[in-house]
C-alpha cells in the first residue's frame, strides 16, 4: 500500500518572527548581490502581467508591425470595446464564478469532513483511505475525460454546471484533505477531550471547534484551488456545449476567427478583464493565504 505523503514535522512550530532582530551589518558583496538577484527575479515574475496589460492597450497595427516588447506608441481602449462586443464576457465571468464557488464549497466542506474523519475521529482503514486520496493527487486529470463524458451522457449531466464542478472538485479534494489533515494534527488532543467531557458529540465538536479553527486553512485551500478552477479549460471544453454555460477560457475562444485567425489585441483585453476578479481577490486575501500555506507546509 502507498504510504502517506505528509512526513515528519519539526519538533515544535516556531511562529514566524515579525521583525528580524539581527544585528545590522555593513553592506557586503553578498547582500548587494542577493538584492540585485531578487530584483531581477521579481522583474521576471511581474513583467508578463504588465506586458499583457500594455498589449491590450495597443492598436492592432502597432501590435502587428511594431516591436512587441517596446512601449506602445499610442494607447487605445478600443480593444476593450471590441472584446465586450465579440464575447459575452459578463456571462462568462458569472459562469466561471458559479463553477469556482460551487467547486470550492465542495472542496472545502468535503475536505474538512474527510480530514475530520481521518485525523480526529480515526478508524481502522484510515491509512487505506489516505492512500486512496493520494492517487487523486498523483494522476493527471486528462485520464478522466473519456470515462466521465460517457458517464455523464448516461445520466444526462452533460452541459450542466455540475458536469464541470464534479471533476474539478473531485481532483482537488485530495490536496484539501491533506492540508486539513495536517492542520488538524496540531489541534491539541486536550481541546477535544475537554469538549468530550462536557458531553459534546462528534458533530458538535466539528461545528464548534474544528470548523472555526480551520478558517486560515480554508482561505488557503480556496485561493489555491480558485487559481486552477478559474482558468480550467479542459473539463469545460469537453463537457459544455451551450453558449449560456461557457466559462472564461471557453469564452476566450470566441475571439478565434476563420481558419485559426485570432484578434489578439481584443483577446488580451478580454484576458485582462477576466483575470481582474481573481487578481483582486488574490491581492486582498493573499496575506491570509500565504500564512495558511506557510503554516500548512511547515506542519508537514
Amino acid at each position: 500500500m502507498i504510504t502517506q505523503a505528509a512526513p515528519a514535522s519539526p519538533p515544535e512550530v516556531v511562529p514566524p518572527r515579525p521583525e528580524v532582530s539581527r544585528r545590522r551589518r555593513k553592506p557586503n558583496l553578498f547582500r548587494t548581490l542577493s538584492r540585485v538577484l531578487i530584483m531581477l527575479i521579481v522583474i521576471v515574475q511581474v513583467y508578463p502581467l504588465a506586458w499583457l496589460f500594455l498589449t491590450s492597450l495597443r492598436t492592432e497595427e502597432d501590435f502587428a508591425t511594431g516591436d512587441p516588447f517596446a512601449l506602445p506608441g499610442s494607447l487605445t481602449w478600443e480593444n476593450y470595446a471590441r472584446a465586450f462586443e465579440t464575447g459575452d464576457l459578463g456571462r462568462n465571468i458569472l459562469n466561471s464564478f458559479v463553477v469556482t464557488m460551487g467547486a470550492n464549497v465542495l472542496i472545502v466542506l468535503l475536505g474538512m469532513m474527510a480530514a475530520y474523519a481521518i485525523q480526529v475521529l480515526g478508524f481502522r482503514l484510515s491509512k487505506l483511505v489516505r492512500g486512496l486520496f493520494l492517487i487523486g493527487i498523483i494522476v493527471p486529470v486528462q485520464i478522466a475525460l473519456v470515462p466521465l463524458f460517457i458517464d455523464y451522457s448516461a445520466v444526462n449531466l452533460l452541459d450542466t454546471y455540475q458536469s464541470m464542478i464534479i471533476p474539478l472538485a473531485g481532483f482537488s479534494l485530495p490536496m484539501s484533505v491533506y492540508l486539513f489533515c495536517s492542520f488538524y494534527e496540531y489541534i491539541p488532543k486536550e481541546t477535544y477531550e475537554a469538549a468530550s467531557l462536557d458531553g459534546a458529540g462528534p458533530y458538535r465538536i466539528f461545528g464548534l471547534i474544528t470548523l472555526p479553527l480551520s478558517l486560515n486553512t480554508v482561505v488557503t485551500v480556496v485561493l489555491v484551488n480558485s487559481i486552477f478552477i478559474w482558468n480550467d479549460f479542459i473539463f469545460a471544453n469537453t463537457f459544455v456545449l451551450s453558449e449560456d454555460l461557457k466559462t472564461i477560457p471557453l469564452g476566450l475562444q470566441n475571439y478565434i476567427g476563420a481558419m485559426g485567425k485570432v484578434d489578439w489585441t481584443a483577446t488580451f483585453a478580454a484576458v485582462c478583464v477576466t483575470i481582474t476578479p481573481l487578481l483582486l481577490v488574490f491581492l486582498v486575501l493573499n496575506k491570509a493565504m500565504i500564512q495558511g500555506m506557510e503554516s500548512g507546509a511547515t506542519k508537514g
Binding site: 515574475q45 468535503l110 470515462p147 458529540g201 511547515t298
Partner: protein, 298 residues
C-alpha cells in the same frame, strides 16, 4: 499501528457520516474513471464502432511497436527534470535570499506568486513571442545585446531546444508557490542553531548544508512530491505552444494520450496510455519517498 483517534467516544455512524460524502464524490470523479480507463484499455474502440475485446494487444503495441510512446515518455521525464530544477532550485534560492532581506518581504512574496494567476492561454502566447526569432523576440534580443549572437535561434522550432523552451514557462509559473512553502520552513529554523554555527566559524555554505537544509528536509520532501506530480501532469503549455512539435520533440505522454483519444479517436489505446501514466506517477512518488527517506536515515 493504533488508529489515530483523538475523540475518545465516537460512534461508527459518525465516521461514516463524515467519510462517505467525500468518498462518494471522489469515487465518482476520480476512482471510477480510472477503473473505466483500465477496462477500456483492453478494447479497441473509436467511439462509434462496436467495442472489440483485444486482450493485451494495446499493451503490446505500446511497449513494442510504438516509437512515439517511448519518445513521449523520455520527453516527459526530461520535462519533469527541467521543471523540478526551475521550481525547486529557484524556490530554494529565492527563499534563502529572502531570509536575508529586512524589508519588502511581503511585497516580494506577493509579486512572486503573480504568474500563477494568469491563464495558460495567455502564458503560452506570451512565451511564443519571447522565443520568436522572426520578428526578433525578447530572448534572442537579449542574447544579441549580451554579444551571444551565435546562440540566437528559433527556440520553439529547433528540435534540440524546444523541450527546454516549453518546460521553462511551466517551471516559472509555479515556482512562487514552492518558494512560499520553503521560505516558511526556512524561517522556522531555530536561530540559536544558526548562531551557534556562525560562532564556530561556519561558512554560509556549511551553514546551509549542515544546519538549514537538514532542518527543512521534511518540507523539502513534500514539496518535491508536489512538484513531481504537477510536472508529470504537464499538458496545457506544450499543447498550446507547440502541440508536441516540431515532430515529436516536445510530445509528452499526456499530450500524446490526449491526441490519441481525441484526434485519432483511438479510445482504447488512449486508455492504455492513461493506465501507464497512472502507474508511472505512482512509481515516481514511491521512488522519491524511498530515496529521500533513505538519505535522511543515513
Amino acid at each position: 499501528m493504533q488508529p489515530n483517534r483523538m475523540l475518545p467516544n465516537r460512534s461508527r455512524t459518525s465516521v461514516l457520516v463524515f467519510l462517505l460524502p467525500p468518498l462518494l464524490l471522489y469515487g465518482a470523479a476520480v476512482l471510477f474513471p480510472i477503473l473505466q480507463s483500465l477496462f477500456l484499455s483492453f478494447f479497441s474502440w473509436n467511439g462509434i464502432s462496436d467495442m472489440e475485446f483485444v486482450g493485451l494487444d494495446n499493451y503490446v503495441r505500446m511497449f513494442v511497436a510504438d516509437d512515439i510512446f517511448w519518445r513521449a515518455f523520455l520527453n516527459a521525464l526530461l520535462y519533469l527534470a527541467i521543471c523540478l530544477v526551475l521550481q525547486l532550485g529557484g524556490a530554494l534560492l529565492v527563499a534563502s535570499l529572502l531570509t536575508s532581506l529586512h524589508r519588502g518581504r511581503e511585497l516580494i512574496k506577493t509579486l512572486y506568486l503573480l504568474p500563477a494567476v494568469i491563464s495558460t492561454v495567455a502564458i503560452a502566447f506570451l512565451f511564443v513571442r519571447i522565443y520568436s526569432i522572426d520578428p526578433v523576440g525578447l530572448l534572442n534580443q537579449l542574447l544579441h545585446w549580451m554579444g551571444l549572437g551565435s546562440l540566437e535561434r528559433p527556440w520553439l522550432s529547433d528540435v534540440n531546444t524546444v523541450l527546454a523552451a516549453v518546460s521553462a514557462p511551466e517551471g516559472w509559473r509555479f515556482t512562487g508557490l514552492y518558494m512560499l512553502i520553503i521560505y516558511a520552513a526556512l524561517i522556522a529554523v531555530p536561530k540559536e542553531l544558526e548562531e551557534a554555527a556562525v560562532l564556530d566559524g561556519a561558512s554560509r555554505w556549511t551553514l546551509f548544508t549542515k544546519i538549514r537544509f537538514p532542518y527543512i528536509r521534511p518540507v523539502w520532501i513534500t514539496t518535491t512530491i508536489m512538484a513531481t506530480t504537477y510536472g508529470l501532469r504537464g499538458f496545457d503549455i506544450p499543447y498550446l505552444m507547440t502541440n508536441g512539435g516540431p515532430g515529436q520533440s516536445s510530445e509528452l505522454l499526456t499530450t500524446y494520450m490526449y491526441k490519441t483519444a481525441f484526434t485519432s479517436t483511438d479510445f482504447g489505446y488512449a486508455s492504455t496510455i492513461s493506465v501507464f501514466i497512472v502507474i508511472e506517477c505512482l512509481v515516481a512518488v514511491g521512488l522519491i519517498l524511498f530515496l529521500l527517506k533513505r538519505k535522511a536515515d543515513s
